[in-house]
Symmetry: C2
Subunit: 426 residues, 2 copies
């Protein structure tokens, strides 16, 4: 054990496992670890995925010892020959492995509680690097290890997320937080619907580009998918109050230029925001979906407790269903086509009346890849609502494949509901 | 340019981009690249993610030159100061960069077609490593590069998937396939619903463990999520016929032990299989959903062309909706509870009659986290169908959070429809 280390600034994450080098799996543990380390101002300078090979893993560890002052390894702590992390770290640092009697005892007990004898194989999980602290694993047989060696810190964690996450939380609380001397990263996420990324960027960039000169400076990044934009703000501050005040000011400046297309400033999803607004108004909602095929209802009911305000929904893929379930006149469909503003409005008002709800939302469109025409190409979608203040329809032309069109249409539908509820509340 | 290289066996993939080191994004390009390289028996021995720093990227490239005979780099080919891949490869290999007049001309034309002048910034995208082949990019401004140097192969590809994928496909077809001398990897995916992973493993392991002794040997891996298990088989064979015959034999052995819970042996999703069966029978379907909240309809309509057989669906979250839309007697709900076999069957038969369809499927259950009781804990789900041969209900107790319960319930519903269609066909 060497002298107490200085606060770590740069970290490398190494995921160990040949299965992570197939086309079917990817390392997601590192996103969790990154988020936790970023909180303390620790930057991730590289991520690696290495197979279950002792020599290659030892090489990768050696190469990265100079690159970072904290190395986090996940995986390879099981009892089989494929589990080489302990051995590779021992090789790379020149530290011997020694059997820890406490781990042996805990493993014996763990198996005994299930009426089993500990397989001899599992004894290797009791091998601990000389001087390392043992990290208990309440959710599995693989204990972790925490190593301070030559001015470097190293965490050896198990691969399964449900074992890794609680163990890493404890490492952060007990070993990393005390080194970080109070400064932490504070974050905020703004959700925006109904705008193009370029359009948001055009109005937001002049605002957030000035924040780098603030003390403390605020960093911004945009995550965009068709129909959904997120602005992630973060600031490194000495206290929670300073962090919150800085983010409040930054959020206010963004909302001033992006306007009411910002649906949340606290990370809630659009369906969650809509649900909260419905609950606040004590309104009930019903959905009438054609092109979204149930996605609007499915998103609304993804929110826990949504049975309080979701009354019902219908998916009327056929024209007959539109007429039978919603009372849309067959002649109207004949005259305007199923994808039209009058039919959208008739679906929403029909649903509102039949379901005895306060607000109903309808979608009708062409999700593709087939079914488009010159006048109504694939991606044409009409979204409509009916509420106590009347009905309203909007037409969109979305790009992308079937899944993207369905998602953007559901997003437009939920956003129309949100705006109606917010306007009604004002 | 050095002598023609031998077939590559070991590859390292390096993704370049500081945004890939945040908690919000992960490298997915490497899954596509891995799959394509595995096809030719090329193994991925490591994957790295490095930030936009010239010296660190050059170090990472140098370290991995000895580890692999093929290096694939994605990202960092844009026109800004953050795009350091060209420079870092130049540093690592000691190869100078030279301006390629052909690229300059193509960039000029690309901008001119949009009525714009090429920004001076973009000229750096015309910098090519001495001796490298230029890889055209029809979907963006960043051309790729293919380098043969010192017995090593290196591909420099852009980061955006829609630019990277077609470029890498061309690299594989024109440069890697000719080196691979005929042998390729052939794959098959078996989808299984309605079984636990441990249960599938118990019957499948004795079968597939013998395949390693086959000539050629077949490799197997299991990917499991609650409600959904996939068995991935692969074999390296000298011809498509040999590959297919070997996989046919292996698939037959697995189906013999797993049985009719195998819903597809060609990678089709469960909703796709159900859709194909409906189309084959010329049947139409309707859904009556409570706890799944529209997810069954949404999955069915995720399949292109599903409007041919999806007639309609209802989401009846409230008891009133179950009675009004499906004719479920209020007294029945009172007596048995909304989550019960009689109500499930009444929902399915009510839907079938009202929608005039051949088959209807219903779900009712407790998705959680609230609403559970001692008799009917969270995760209790009843799935029912009604078809020309009568009605049938099954009760399940699923584990996991709200999203997992919804998914497993939708999986059970689609699987019940599949089995009814298959039995009807026999």
């Amino acid at each position: 054990m060497s002298a107490p280390p200085s606060p770590p600034r740069r970290a490398v994450i190494i995921a160990v496992g040949t299965e992570l080098l197939t086309p079917f799996r990817t390392d997601t543990n590192s996103l969790f670890i990154t988020s936790k380390l970023n909180d303390f101002g620790i930057e991730i300078v590289a991520k690696l995925i290495v197979g279950d090979r002792r020599a290659e893993l030892a090489d990768a560890i050696r190469e990265n010892l100079d690159r970072a002052d904290l190395l986090v390894l996940t995986g390879g702590l099981g009892p089989t020959d494929d589990d080489v992390t302990r051995l590779a770290v021992s090789d790379a640092l020149g530290l011997p492995l020694e059997e820890d009697p406490g781990i042996v005892e805990r493993l014996r007990l763990r198996f005994a509680r299930r009426g089993m004898q500990m397989p001899a194989l599992n004894l290797v999980q009791a091998q601990v690097l000389r001087g390392a602290a043992v990290l208990p694993n309440p959710n599995g047989t693989a204990p972790g290890q925490w190593v301070q060696h030559g001015g470097r810190l190293m965490a050896l964690l198990p691969g399964p997320p449900r074992e890794m996450m609680p163990m890493f939380d404890a490492v952060v609380a007990e070993r990393i937080a005390p080194l970080a001397q109070g400064a932490r990263l504070y974050r905020r996420v703004l959700g925006i619907a109904g705008r193009f990324e370029s359009d948001v960027e055009r109005v937001a960039q002049p605002v957030y580009s000035k924040w780098v000169a603030w003390r403390p400076p605020v960093s911004t990044s945009i995550l965009a998918a068709p129909g959904q934009i997120e602005l992630h703000l973060s600031v490194r501050a000495g206290s929670a109050e300073e962090g919150r005040a800085t983010l409040d000011r930054a959020t206010g400046e963004l909302v001033a230029v992006v306007g009411t297309d910002v649906y949340s400033t606290d990370g809630r999803s659009l369906e969650h925001v809509v649900g909260d607004l419905l609950r606040g108004r004590a309104w009930r909602i019903a959905t009438a979906e054609s092109c979204t095929g149930g996605l609007v209802a499915c998103r609304l009911t993804d929110v826990a407790g949504s049975s309080d305000y979701v009354e019902r929904g219908v998916v009327c893929y056929s024209n007959r269903a539109k007429t039978e379930l919603l009372g849309v006149p067959a002649e109207m469909i004949q005259e305007h086509g199923a994808v039209s503003e009058p039919v959208g409005v008739a679906m929403a008002t029909g649903m509102r009346g039949r379901a005895h709800v306060d607000i109903a939302v309808a979608t009708t469109g062409i999700a593709g890849p087939g079914g488009g025409t010159d006048q109504k190409p694939v991606g044409t979608v009409v979204v409509a609502i009916a509420s106590p203040s009347g009905s309203e329809a909007r037409r969109f032309l979305f790009t992308g494949g079937r899944a993207q069109v369905k998602f953007q249409a559901s997003q437009a539908a939920l956003n129309l509901v949100r705006r109606a509820l917010e306007e009604d509340t004002r």
